[in-house]
């Protein structure tokens, strides 16, 4: 909502600076996003410390030099001796007469006249004045200073300005022609300098979507008086009574409907000050009739609709026109004044007559009954509509107008007659029409303006500060509540211009907000929570997730967070061609915003592989992990989907970055990731970790394992299937990935594990190289060694795997470091020899393995 300060000042005295006003309004919930100066002095001083606050609002625009930009009077328009497209004006600036050159088309019509009487008032910029450079092609506003120069042989040193040159609008077709009463020689900034507050109106402050509404808030927060606009229009025509009738079908949808009538209007341009205000407020002036409805809507907040009364009379075919409000009938259509033929929903509220729909109530008028060129008599509608229904309608029609903007946020029915009366007065003044006596006013459903009770104790309980009942009363009265003190509490009646105050305890909260706003949020003291400390429950699942993150980043992995909205096609890429299950159901969006984000992901792996793909051009080493949910629908009962947290790891590229000292730049493989997994589980103190060869669609059939804790599978990992990799733009190096469901893992994480004492005796170290058949898994050799040696063997580590000429074909040599350690005493060589012998004996017997020679 753009509010010119001069307009605002008609309803409230503002005795603080404009930036200070913006500050107060912002704190009170009417956020001033920008102050745009249009002529009034930009307060440099106030910004630099003199004011109470530093600048808190974006300030734009410029001020007009009072010495150099003044009201001028064009007394004669003369042809230019050497140019058809230019004219010369004899202009009086209050001090002397000047000859001013211009190409403004709106002065050409005056070439015919000799002496202009009365003269044309224009915005005159003297030599040296700074104005906006209207010919600059830059997007930023650029300024220019008026200099003396010769144009086609005539000297020019000053000019008459367009609106664009003064920053009022983008209008540059002609020069501004001011209203006739503008005093010659007066500084233009005094005559019509302005500053526009651009205020963001939240839905609960919809009552302030008008200049009067903002003025009311200004009055409240600055404790000033509000001046009401006059509503006593002089009716000179015969009464409206009997000329038109109203029928309201559903008062819930249309609580009030008011009509006024004005005849013999002349559609002339509005006075310049009206056009200027409309432009500053962001509305294009049309003519005096349309401008009057828009001006009144901006002023009071009541959207109005003007019908061509002649059209209505024709449609009534000799009967008295009857306005009927009702919802649309099946199949009914209406061509609105934007020339769109609209199909109407069964809930669309219409203003109709006996011949059919006239307008979509509260949203947009119909083309047929629109006021046009020849309109002489105008029937003016002011009404109240159900805000939810208007919202639904505007959404369904995808149609937003100044009217629907206000009606869908709620306009109090009391505003309807006020708007009609005010608008008739403006039309009378600007169009010369004759206003019919009286209004037609159907008001079947006046709203209850709630009465709310509130005690000082309740104010303290919510806001944490002491206010007396008298103080509470005064604060609410500033917003025009009718307040009485009733022993221990106040009784506040909601003023008849707002619909946002509820009943009972909700009403109390509504009032508390108003009290806090008017009192000032900034003045409410900050305190610390004194309430009882609630039970401290922690969040075990999150704690494990965080632990996993810490361990993995210690292992050199980088965390990613990916889009959870994906597409089935994107997920299909992590299956080899043809392997993805056919009837695959997803949590899918009804209204996706792009084609590639249509469903909630079901496979975190696919999301992470996309990140590998996105990075392979910029990095060779890609070590990633993500913890996040997968979404699985439960279509049978159509209930909420399962959302389970998963951990996915993906690594590829050289083991360590290339460096000048030499480094291990071999590509990472299955065992790099296995090492990460082993370390992860060890640090989580999950015991009984096991690995088993496995086959999964996404993985290389020979390089895939499932991860077990005891007998329970908790995850799977391996090299990504080459046919899957084919579907991504991957690096040459294999991508190794792992997937774990996190929730099952949490059950196994142990917080209370035992720490072994450090032995005092020295250990015995021994290396054993065992030759065994290729088909025997390494884990069986190690398990057998461990079993045979018993607790004396405290460590076993495989340090070499050899295949080759020194041993038989289809054989491998596994070399282990063994550490023997007795908890209480030093082991003798003899004891160690015996253990070794039994190990070798069992290896030979059970696995056909022998010591490497």
């Amino acid at each position: 909502m753009k509010v010119p300060i001069t307009w605002l000042r008609e309803y409230v005295n503002v005795d603080i600076s404009i930036p200070e006003l913006a500050h107060r309004l912002t704190l009170a919930g009417l956020e001033v996003e920008e102050i745009h100066y249009v002529g009034l002095p930009v307060p440099e001083d106030e910004q630099n410390g003199q004011g109470e606050h530093r600048p808190e609002t974006k300030i734009t625009g410029f001020s007009w030099d009072p010495e150099k930009i003044v009201v001028g009077a064009v007394r004669e328009v003369m042809p230019h001796p050497n140019a058809d497209r230019l004219v010369l004006c004899r202009l009086d600036d209050g001090e002397e007469e000047h000859t001013v050159l211009t190409g403004a088309p709106n002065l050409f019509p005056y070439l015919e006249d000799d002496e202009l009487d009365p003269p044309l008032k224009v915005a005159y910029a003297r030599e040296g004045a700074t104005i906006i450079d209207a010919y600059s092609e830059s997007k930023e506003t650029e300024f220019t200073s008026i200099r003396r120069k010769k144009i086609r042989g005539v000297e020019s040193y000053s000019m008459a300005c367009s609106e664009k040159e003064l920053g009022i609008s983008d209008e540059h077709e002609g020069v501004i022609i001011l209203d006739g009463d503008a005093p010659i020689g007066m500084p233009l900034s005094d005559y019509m300098g302005d500053a526009v507050l651009d205020i963001a109106i939240t839905p609960n402050i919809a009552r302030a979507a008008s200049v009067l509404g903002v003025a009311r808030e200004v009055a409240a927060v600055t404790d000033a008086d509000l001046k009401y606009p006059s509503l006593d229009v002089k009716a000179e025509g015969p009464s409206i009574e009997g000329q038109v009738q109203i029928e309201i079908t559903d008062p819930e949808l249309n609580p009030r409907f008011v009509l006024g009538l004005i005849r013999d209007v002349e559609r002339v341009p509005s006075p310049y000050w009206v056009q200027r205000r409309l432009r500053l407020a962001g509305i294009r002036p049309i003519d005096s009739v349309v401008d009057a409805t828009n001006y009144t809507m901006l002023e009071i907040g009541e959207p109005l609709h003007a019908f061509d009364f002649d059209v209505l009379q024709e449609r009534a075919e000799g009967e008295t026109p009857t306005i009927i409000t009702r919802t649309a009938e099946p199949g009914e259509t209406l061509t609105t004044l934007d020339d769109v033929k609209r199909e109407l929903d069964e809930f669309t509220e219409l203003v109709t007559d006996t011949a059919g729909p006239l307008s979509i109530a509260g949203v947009m008028g119909g083309a047929e009954s629109e006021v046009g060129e020849g309109t002489e008599d105008i029937l003016l509608e002011g009404a109240a509509w159900n805000f939810i229904n208007i919202h639904k309608t505007a959404n369904a029609q995808n149609l937003s107008s100044e009217a629907s903007y206000r009606f869908e946020r709620g306009v109090h029915p009391e505003l309807a007659p006020q708007g009609v009366l005010r608008c008739l007065e403006w039309m009378q003044k600007w169009t010369g029409g004759t206003v019919a006596e009286g209004l037609m006013d159907e008001y079947p459903l006046p709203p209850d303006d709630p009465i709310v009770f509130l005690s000082a104790a309740e104010v303290k309980r919510w806001l944490g500060m002491e206010l007396s009942l008298q103080e509470i009363k005064e604060l609410l009265e500033r917003l025009e509540f009718e307040v009485q003190i009733d022993e221990e509490q106040i009784r506040a009646k909601t003023p008849p211009h707002r619909l946002d105050i509820g009943e009972g305890v909700v009403g109390k909260a509504d009032l508390l907000e108003e009290i806090a706003r008017v009192y000032g949020y900034d003045k409410i003291p900050e305190t610390h929570l004194a309430d009882e400390l609630p039970p401290q429950r922690g969040n075990p699942m999150l704690e494990v997730e965080e632990r996993v993150r810490d361990i993995l980043l210690g292992l050199g992995l980088r965390e990613v967070v990916t889009y959870r909205i994906t597409s089935p096609e994107a997920e299909a890429r992590c299956y080899p061609p043809g392997a993805k299950p056919e009837e695959d159901t997803y949590v899918s969006l009804q209204n996706p915003i792009t084609k590639d984000r249509t469903v909630m992901r079901k496979r975190l792996l696919a999301s992470v592989l996309e990140i590998v793909e996105n990075n392979y051009r910029v990095r060779q080493r890609i070590p990633l992990f993500e913890i996040g949910p997968e979404f699985h629908p439960r279509p049978k009962d159509d209930s909420l989907p399962e959302e389970n947290a998963w951990l996915v790891i993906a690594i590829t590229g050289p083991r360590t970055p290339q460096a000048w000292q030499g480094s291990d730049t071999e590509a990472v493989d299955f065992f790099d990731l296995k090492g990460i997994i082993e370390e992860l589980f060890q640090r989580l103190h999950i015991g009984e970790l096991g690995f088993e060869k496995s086959q999964r669609e996404a993985y290389h059939p020979g390089k895939c394992a499932r991860v077990l804790v005891g007998k329970r599978e908790v995850g799977v990992f391996g090299e990504i299937h080459p046919l899957v990799s084919d579907q991504y733009e991957f690096p040459e190096t294999p991508v190794i990935a792992a997937e774990f469901a996190l929730e099952p893992l949490v059950d196994h994480v142990s917080k209370r594990y035992n720490v072994e004492p450090i032995p005092e005796q020295p250990p015995v170290l021994e290396d054993l190289a065992i030759v065994v058949g290729e088909e025997v898994p390494a884990v069986e050799v190690a398990d057998l060694i461990r079993q045979t040696a018993g607790e004396i063997l405290t460590e076993i580590r495989l340090f070499d795997v050899y295949r080759g000429a020194q041993i038989g074909e289809n054989e491998k040599s596994l070399a282990y470091n063994l550490v023997y350690q007795h908890p209480e005493r030093t082991l003798t060589d003899e004891e160690v020899r015996k253990i070794r012998e039994s190990i070798l004996y069992r290896l030979d017997k059970e696995l056909d393995a022998h010591l490497r020679e």
């Binding site: 704190l27 919930g29 530093r54 609002t57 974006k58 839905p203 402050i205 805000f387 919202h391 639904k392 869908e408 946020r409 303290k460 919510w462 806001l463 500060m465 305890v505 109390k508 907000e513 806090a516 949020y521 900034d522 409410i524 003291p525 900050e526 305190t527 929570l529 004194a530 309430d531 009882e532 400390l533 609630p534 429950r537 969040n539 965080e546 993995l552 980043l553 210690g554 292992l555 050199g556 980088r558 965390e559 967070v561 990916t562 889009y563 959870r564 909205i565 949590v587 009804q590 915003i593 792009t594 909630m600 990140i611 996105n614 910029v618 990095r619 890609i622 159509d638 460096a659 480094s663």
Partner: protein, 353 residues
């Protein structure tokens, strides 16, 4: 004999002075302490001395031997140290060569910010509570005082989820904010003692979704951290104090805050908390759009209808709630100008944290 021993000692020590390397020291040892050295000869000839002189000369000879031994060890040490010092002169490196790369991993920037938020609110007794991302209209809107078709919903463009069954006014959707967590938590807590529910203080972190064009400024998914404190003595003053404390801990003790009225259907009074722009220190810059203030979070006293929906009697309980965006906070702190960086996960971005 005694004089001779004295001479042997003096001569040996003098010779030792001149020794400058280990080789010479070895030679010195042979000639002054070796089998055929004068000193050893004294020992050999001890038997030839008269009986009464033997112990005296023997003791003196041992003293000389001890002294030489000591001097030898001292010399050895000196020579060893000298040799190390000399050898070090050869061992020079170019200290400006880069170090061997050691690469630790790191957290996603959002996780980092979330952890800071957890810690600060954790210190104030707020527990972390999480709730689901696919929600019902009832939980995401209706329970939070957004009736069906209410214009307030306009502020939160919503992704709806397809269902086989028409769920009427309660369709499934992707939550547009973490606020449904308020209802879930209040239900969970109040069900433990419906007549006199326990107080609660939680924060609800998690992913939210809005139907918006993806651009540098807006994303279809973003994290939010909701906060909720409900009890019998919780005031708007507490809200201001708690959130200002939070801002000072996150952004620095000197940072100023301001609260201005705003509107959310589920709180009343509602407010927006701004902090002084730390980029321009309040002077006004492009990030704070010339205002000197940065919008950090929305907050307010829990609306009575919401308290009631959660099982807390608004006549006896009050509460405050707030919501903030960790990505926005991260962007402000690190001057990130494109929110799409967060889910693009370009390593060139992630590596910088």
């Amino acid at each position: 004999m005694r004089e001779e021993l004295q001479k042997i000692k003096e001569k040996a020590l003098q010779a030792l002075e001149e020794v400058e390397d280990e080789e010479a020291l070895e030679a010195w040892q042979v000639s002054h302490m070796g089998r055929n050295s004068p000193l050893m000869n004294v020992f050999k000839t001890l038997g030839d001395l008269p009986e009464e002189e033997r112990p005296l000369v023997g003791r003196q000879a041992n003293e000389v031997k001890g002294a030489l031994q000591k001097a030898l060890e001292k010399k050895e040490k000196v020579l060893h140290q000298t040799q190390i010092r000399l050898s070090l002169q050869e061992e020079r490196i170019d200290v400006t060569l880069p170090g061997r790369p050691k690469i630790s991993g790191n957290l996603h920037p959002t996780t980092r910010t979330l952890r800071e938020i957890y810690r600060i609110f954790g210190d104030m007794g707020f527990q972390i509570y999480r709730s689901r991302e696919v929600e019902t209209d009832e939980m995401n809107f209706q329970m939070l005082n957004f009736p069906p078709h209410h214009p307030a919903r306009e502020m939160q463009d919503t992704f709806f989820v397809d269902g086989e069954r028409d769920r009427g006014e309660n369709p499934l959707l992707l939550r547009t904010h973490t606020s449904p967590g308020q209802i879930h938590a209040m239900w969970e807590y109040s069900s433990t003692n419906p007549a006199d529910p326990p107080p609660l203080r939680i924060i609800v972190p998690g992913m939210c979704y809005r139907y918006e064009q993806i651009s540098a400024r807006s994303e279809i998914q973003f994290n939010q951290v909701e906060g909720l404190a409900v009890g019998k003595e919780i005031t708007f003053g507490d809200l201001k104090g708690t959130l200002s404390d939070f801002a000072r801990r996150l952004f620095g003790q000197g940072v100023g805050t301001r609260f201005r009225a705003d509107h959310f259907p589920f709180t009343e009074p509602s407010a927006e908390m701004d902090i002084e722009c730390f980029l321009c220190e309040g002077e006004g810059c492009t990030v704070c759009k010339g205002t000197g203030w940065l919008e950090i979070l929305g907050c307010g006293m829990v609306h009575p209808t919401v308290l009631e929906n959660g099982g807390y009697d608004p006549e006896r309980y009050t509460g405050f709630a707030f919501g903030m965006g960790p990505e926005r906070i991260t962007m402000l702190r690190h001057r990130i100008e494109d929110i799409r960086y967060f889910w693009a996960n370009d390593l060139r971005f992630l590596e910088q944290f």
